[in-house]
Subunit: 255 residues, 2 copies
């Protein structure tokens, strides 16, 4: 069976087999992974991402690293990745050195899942609890929307998503998030469903136990009022699904 | 009372007063408006928009035209607009000739609604049934997300949203949409809630009466297979909330 003929059903088994037989990293087993990084296409400020999400860079032995299609262009920043995955429709003409990945997992372009969904399924199958999506911000709006809705399918995963200038923190209900933010950073809560119990502090317009019906603009374009004493905003919801969006103060407001 | 001190509560009344007293267009009454155009910030291909949404350009006497803040930069394309509305935080340094609008409606930056929400509230108050948002695609992701969720607040309005290269058609349940599309155009259904009865024809991967849980990638990156005989794709949902996203064939897939 050539890799090109791989069926949808065979994908996860093949990926997990490669993982279990040590094709990727002989000293690891799937249970070792608690976090994962997905490299997606698009320009990023890698130094800013490393500063803002240090838990994903502390011990790379603990982190499952996957490049999704053209996201392989950032593999050097991680000294190579475990998997390079995709239908490769956007990277067919790329020259990629095989030292940049341990295993390449091709996939038919005509499939029911997106490349990123396949990567997330693999992440979930490996027992990961936190995933950082690097890149994938901007570009085609439908792609962006798909990315922002994936947490509803992979509800066991804590999602983060960043290009170093704009970052998204998925708010799982009943957890309190402390998110370091420069003073005057833009802060928006992007509700994906109706929200209850929305509490937001250290921002210009704080909210306490707020009920937000879906489709209201109230929670957009807030501003962090943080300091050296309180360097983080906090966010919490009781029920619902939402992203906390944070962008650097100098991020352009306009189009 | 200076315009700068206008309170939130006074806004709609003032706008409607201006409309009723004929400040804007003496020969019109609010009941004449069946469609509205909102000019939002951002570059657009105006000729393509006029071609794809002719019903908004046929009889300008029937169309309420509102420029939202920096969207005034496109007012020339409509030979001026009825309202120029906003907190003007993004256009404070713009030199705008007063011939470009009939009435200017300023608004405090510190408010519970976004500029676009205020414009939509006005559109709704004027009895409009269909609204075309021109521009506002790309740029800050939180702004984009806010725009895509507004139909849930203004559920009586049929929404369209376009920059001429990428267009969004809001799918109201139980209506069948015939959407002209060049062959090979990208087609995605962006679900905002769980969907039932999703039917999509004249695309590479058609769907019939499909049940789509929120957060799945299945309905992204389809392709129109239209022809001179069947120049339109069709889309329909039984229940739920969704956008049909359509972009020109040569739209860049990647970041």
């Amino acid at each position: 069976m050539s890799e090109e003929q791989l069926s949808e059903e065979q994908f996860h088994q093949m990926a997990l087999d490669k993982l279990e037989t040590g094709t990727i990293a002989p000293n690891r087993s799937p249970t070792h992974y608690t976090r994962a990084i997905l490299l997606l296409p698009g320009a990023v400020d890698f130094a800013a991402i490393q500063r803002d999400f240090p838990q994903f860079f502390r011990d790379q032995g603990d982190i499952l690293q996957i490049a999704v299609d053209k996201g392989i262009d950032k593999a050097d920043q991680l000294n190579g990745v475990d998997y390079w995955l995709g239908d490769f429709d956007s990277s067919v003409h790329l020259q990629v050195d095989s030292s940049k990945y341990s295993a390449k997992i091709p996939y038919p372009a005509d499939k029911n899942e997106t490349d990123t969904e396949l990567a997330l399924s693999l992440v979930k199958a490996c027992g990961v609890s936190e995933v950082l999506l690097i890149g994938g911000i901007g570009g085609r709006i439908d792609h962006q929307m798909a990315l922002l809705f994936y947490p509803l399918q992979y509800s066991s995963l804590q999602f983060y998503h960043s290009d170093g200038r704009q970052s998204f923190y998925y708010l799982q209900p009943k957890k309190c998030y402390h998110i370091p933010a420069k003073a005057a950073s833009l802060v928006s809560v992007i509700a994906l469903t109706d929200l209850t119990g929305l509490t937001l502090t250290n921002v210009q317009w704080p909210l306490t136990d707020y009920v937000l019906p879906l489709g209201r603009g109230l929670t957009y374009s807030n501003r962090a009022i943080t300091s050296t004493i309180e360097p983080a905003i906090t966010a919490e919801i009781s029920a619902g699904n939402a992203w906390l969006y944070l962008s650097i103060p100098e991020q352009d407001d306009s189009l």
